[in-house]
């Protein structure tokens, strides 16, 4: 079970604040692929992924029990 938190604009796009995937193991890239499949509107968005409060690289592995936050970059000021 991998917990996904959709933060800020990602929450609007997914239409929910969080959900749980029944995977035991996947890479960050696989998570992003799954999300684009499930919510096509994420296509083209440059989401960043934090796993257990650390930004993760695309090739990092996510394990069951991990909490993943999906964070859209912010540029205003």
């Amino acid at each position: 079970m991998i917990k996904i938190k959709y933060f800020a604009a990602a929450k609007e796009t997914a239409g929910k604040e969080e959900e749980v995937l029944k995977q035991k193991k996947m890479t960050v890239q696989q998570l992003l692929d799954w999300i684009e499949q499930a919510y096509p509107e994420f296509k083209g968005m440059s989401l960043q992924v934090a796993v257990n409060e650390e930004y993760a690289r695309r090739e990092d592995t996510i394990h069951s029990g991990d909490v993943c936050a999906l964070i859209p970059p912010v540029s205003g000021g």
């Binding site: 604009a9 930004y55 964070i71 970059p73 912010v74 540029s75």
Partner: protein, 339 residues
């Protein structure tokens, strides 16, 4: 000093010695919009000795909803933001040294400005300028406090050369699509929380309280009452052109020739002429007379109308063409006006 800053000196981690350090500090702030006005007022009130403010823009009515140093009069007169900010900051604190830079910030300019700076504050509204700040910060070994906001969400992090990964590691490729204040809007509480959190990190750094500085990016959403914290140590790239052992600082490479840019979500083209060209307000006035354009001259720029576009030409030759996003058209128009 004792009386004016008494409440701040009672705060144990600052105290008398921290207050003295603030008084001799020099901060360079890039941008003087929503974050910049809030940060500069806070830090000037806190007793920072010297503040350099760089911004390329002037006050407009749509700024007033969230940009705190500016008044309706500033917007009506179109006063440059750095000028309006300095005027108000000096009413707040006469003994502060406030240096204003009314210009588009590029690599050479920023490198020059930060020469004796203790800290750089990020108050810009685009990723490109943040990569520039990041390169200058690492090259000169000066920390910078990142802050950004849109809608009800914001982010803050202190980047410290030698201690943390850098902004380029975190964002090696600029996002193609990105929400901005001009598409998704912005509410003032977001601005204030980002600016205050950035300023707290600034006070920590300047008063020597480095141990309590944030170790994770702080993302919050003040409308939905949520937040995410995320560290960046995994993100450090071994071959990062900014923070690796053989840096090239790509954002600092000087561009030759006249530079045309679309200003982030502003529906405006900015033209910065080649450094060899010298176009002044007087040149603008001659041109406007010759082409029979309606115009007005202020202390800081000439405003004129050509075709359906409103243009602002500053004393250093920088031109803003409002109502235009097409660079090709902007280039054509510029040549038409100034050859």
């Amino acid at each position: 000093m004792d009386k004016r800053y008494s409440r701040q000196m009672l705060f144990t981690p600052i105290g008398q010695s921290g207050q003295e350090k603030l008084a001799t500090s020099h901060i360079v702030m890039v941008g003087c919009g929503a974050l910049g006005t809030a940060i500069s007022e806070l830090l000037i009130r806190a007793g920072v000795g010297k503040l350099t403010i760089a911004d390329r823009d002037y006050v407009e009515m749509s700024n007033l909803q969230r940009q705190q140093l500016f008044t309706e009069k500033d917007a009506q007169e179109g006063v440059p933001k750095v000028i309006a900010a300095k005027k108000r900051l000096e009413m707040i604190r006469q003994d502060a040294e406030i240096v204003t830079v009314l210009d588009h910030v590029d690599g050479p300019l920023l490198e020059h400005l930060v020469k004796d700076a203790d800290l750089i504050m990020d108050a810009t509204d685009n990723f490109e300028t943040r990569l520039l700040i990041n390169d200058v910060a690492w090259k000169q070994q000066i920390p910078w406090i990142h802050g950004a906001c849109v809608g009800s969400t914001g982010v803050v992090f202190p980047f410290i050369p030698g201690k943390t990964a850098c902004f380029r590691c975190l964002l090696p490729v600029l996002p193609a699509v990105n929400q901005t204040c001009d598409t998704a809007g912005i509410i003032a509480p977001t601005v204030q929380i980002v600016a205050a959190t950035q300023s707290a990190e600034a006070l920590k750094w300047l008063t020597g309280n480095t141990k309590t500085m944030r170790k994770k990016l702080y993302h919050f959403d003040v409308w939905n009452n949520t937040f995410v914290e995320a560290g960046i140590s995994r993100m450090k790239h071994e071959s990062c052109p900014t923070c690796s052992e053989k840096p090239t600082y790509p954002a600092l490479l000087k561009q030759e020739g006249t530079n045309y840019a679309v200003l982030c979500g502003r529906d405006t083209i900015q033209v910065v002429p080649d450094s060899n060209r010298n176009i002044t307000i007087a040149d603008g006035e001659k041109m406007a007379k010759r082409l029979k354009l309606s115009y007005r001259v202020t202390d800081f720029f000439i405003e004129f109308h050509v075709e359906k576009y409103r243009c602002i030409l500053f004393q250093n030759g920088r031109l803003l063409i409002h109502g235009l996003k097409d660079i090709t058209k902007g280039r054509k128009l510029y040549h038409q006006l100034f050859g």
